[in-house]
């Protein structure tokens, strides 16, 4: 590093630090010092200034990328590397090269396909009602309401609850023998439901937890977008005799299109990675996702393979398969978005 010789004192070069370094300056310093030295100094300074404007933005963004490389890219690549090996958690340093075996094995692995199917159905069961309800709630909150701030905060509280706490409460609610929901069902004459044992019932239960936690969050995003819709649109729609419902359908929804797409993408990613809710819903030994794996998601299957069966290589292959699935989903979203834009 070159020392900042010319800056031994800021006062010594009061006028030389210019925004446009190429402009010749009547340097005070030049009077006091030999001209040649001043020139060199100026050149050096201007070069440093160019470097500053050129490179310091990179320095500013660097911390993020350093962290991202350490905790994002490296694990991603290392997972990819270990997915090509046979690795056991009991000896994670002994890696045996097996090529694509872990992937070809997944293709024939019915547990994997079952998990993929469950991830999809739970994803649909949770995302669709969630976003529809969020839209409705946002619409209601968009009206002039008393204590609207209170409602907005209230709607977000489930999001601020920890997954574990929320899920444990839902486990009690959905309990077979002593659950409140079954108690209510019996009260109205419908029989008890063994929520955890059935395929559909368990998936509905897990979806309920997801819906409960995320509806408010999405509602708030929709609300923000709705408040950006210009009032003139509603006024002219009202002048044309459109009812509230028609306004919602023909003004609000089209204006919200990009926001809706955004929430769909985010919810899809969340649904693909669903883990905590089914794990805790399963109780003791929850990584299996039920006796027949009826609510085992991809995340749970990955966890079971890696941390319960100790097959790290296979777990890595599942992780990469999930990543590829997300890429495909993102691609589909992109196509739809493009189509939507064209149709507009």
């Amino acid at each position: 590093m070159r020392p900042y010789t010319d800056q031994s004192g800021p006062a010594a070069s009061p006028s030389s630090g210019d925004a446009v370094p190429d402009r010749p300056t009547a340097a005070v310093a030049a009077v006091e010092r030999p001209v040649a030295a001043g020139d060199r100094r100026r050149k050096w300074r201007s070069r440093r200034y160019r470097w500053d404007t050129k490179y310091s933005p990179y320095a500013f963004v660097a911390p993020f990328f350093v962290f991202f490389a350490a905790f994002g890219v490296f694990p991603l690549l290392y997972t990819g590397w270990s997915s090509l090996h046979r690795v056991s958690l009991s000896a994670p340093n002994d890696m045996e090269w097996v090529g694509l075996h872990n992937y070809t094995r997944l293709l024939e692995d019915e547990f994997f396909w079952n998990a993929l199917r469950n991830t999809f159905t739970i994803g649909v069961l949770s995302t669709v009602p969630q976003l529809l309800m969020a839209l409705g709630i946002a619409h209601l909150l968009n009206y002039r309401l008393r204590a609207s701030a209170f409602f907005r905060v209230a709607i977000l509280t489930p999001y601020a609850t920890s997954v574990a706490a929320a899920t444990l409460v839902f486990v009690l609610l959905f309990g077979r023998d002593y659950g409140m929901i079954n108690w209510a069902l019996e009260g109205v004459g419908l029989g008890k439901v063994d929520w955890q044992s059935g395929t559909l019932s368990s998936q509905v239960a897990v979806s309920t937890i997801v819906i409960w936690r995320w509806t408010g969050y999405n509602a708030l995003i929709y609300l923000a977008a709705m408040q950006a819709v210009p009032n003139d649109l509603y006024e002219s729609a009202a002048l044309d005799g459109a009812t509230r419902w028609q306004q919602f359908l023909h003004v609000t929804i089209p204006s919200l299109r990009p926001t809706i797409l955004f929430t769909v993408v985010v919810s899809t990613i969340g649904a693909t990675q669903l883990f905590g809710e089914p794990l805790l819903f399963g109780g003791a030994g929850g990584q299996k996702g039920g006796a027949s794996h009826q609510f085992q998601t991809l995340g749970l299957y990955l966890y079971e393979q890696g941390w319960f069966n100790f097959h790290l290589g296979r777990a890595s292959a599942i992780a990469w398969a999930m990543f590829l699935i997300l890429l495909i989903v993102a691609g589909v979203h992109l196509l739809i978005a493009r189509r939507l834009r064209k149709s507009q």
Partner: protein, 444 residues
Amino acid sequence: MRTSTRTRRRAVVVAAVVALGAGLLGGCAEDSDEGTGGSGGGKENAQGKTTLEIGTFGVFGYKQAGLYDEYMKLNPDIVIKEDVTERNDTYYPELLTHLAANSGLQDIQAVEVGNINEIVTTQADKFEDLSKAPGVDKANWLDWKWAQGSTKDGRTVALGTDIGPMGLCYRKDLFKKAGLPTDREAVGKLWAGDWQKYVDAGKQYKAKGPKGTTFTDSAAGLFAAVNNGYAERFYDAGGELIYKDSPAVKTAWDLAMQAAEGGLTAKLKQFDKAWDQAYANGTFATVSCPPWMLGYIKEKAGTAGEDQWDVAAAPKPANWGGSFIGVPKAGKNKAEAIKLAAWLTAPEQQAKLFDKQASFPSTPPAYEMDVVSGAKNPYFGDAPTGQLFAEAAKGIPTLVIGPKDQQIGTAFGDVGILQVEQQGKSPAEGWKAALKEIDNAVDG
């Protein structure tokens, strides 16, 4: 002025980069320090004391029983710190990765019985040999417990702490209503020697017992209890997988199916929330219970279950649970750690632990001590638990445990049996599902 702003800005950038860089490096340094130096022990504090750290899971009870305090009083130069992970499923994978990385290890590490085989067969070279350590006498331990913690060539990787000799806990009030004996001697005789007799008693209970209650909690619990009484269940002595047709698994499966299909169980999964609630509501009459389970029952059944529960001998002696402690080679105070491990597992300390925490000693000399031989449990009708469990402990066979024992047991219990019990599938379907599950787990 411009210069100074720019200088200031540059200074801020430099400061930010330096701070972040230092933060990163600091993070690493802190980490490695914790890995090899700090938690690894060897930290000497101002008074020149040596800190020993013990990594455990669940409730080992050393601290609660005052054993650390006692040791520190005996050895004023030692400070003991305990690092507790709540669940073994979290603790054990962590231990494995720490062993692989040779860092982050405590001076003493606990190992659960379900994992001890894997540690002994795959990680033995990472642990100190404790067989000839001062204060360790092989003769003190039950043979099978000693054998489980040692390699074939006689290195002892970990010393036995507690064991889980099984009894059978039953509710006197429910037994009375079902016309079954309530006296613990008579109850023990009812099924002595054969689990089939236990299931038969269950059938009688089903016919006459109070409505809304069942004979036992879960078919999987029965399956495990029967299996644990054999020397070979999933693996034979040569390390080969025999679960498909070992007599242990066959007998246990058959009994579990009888219980599941005959409606003798409450269709619960052990350690689930609903299981706890069933204790509180007193809706099942029996459960196989090692000593550590007594405290669990007392906690969950609460005052409502007071004087209702009692404990009798199980049909056959069997072991459920228990742990070991070993000294990793990567630790810094190995000599002191070995001394502490030997002291903690000595019969005297195991007896004290039983007295305070109900962890049953794996060292028979402790059974002769008053705190064990005279122990009675007031919650369970003053049952002489010390004698009862000591009797069971002596009859326990040396169970062969293999590396995938836990996964196989779970496949049978949480998948195969549960499908029959909760989802109404046929035993053949359940068996097939369990085998498929095991294939997926043991396949490299």
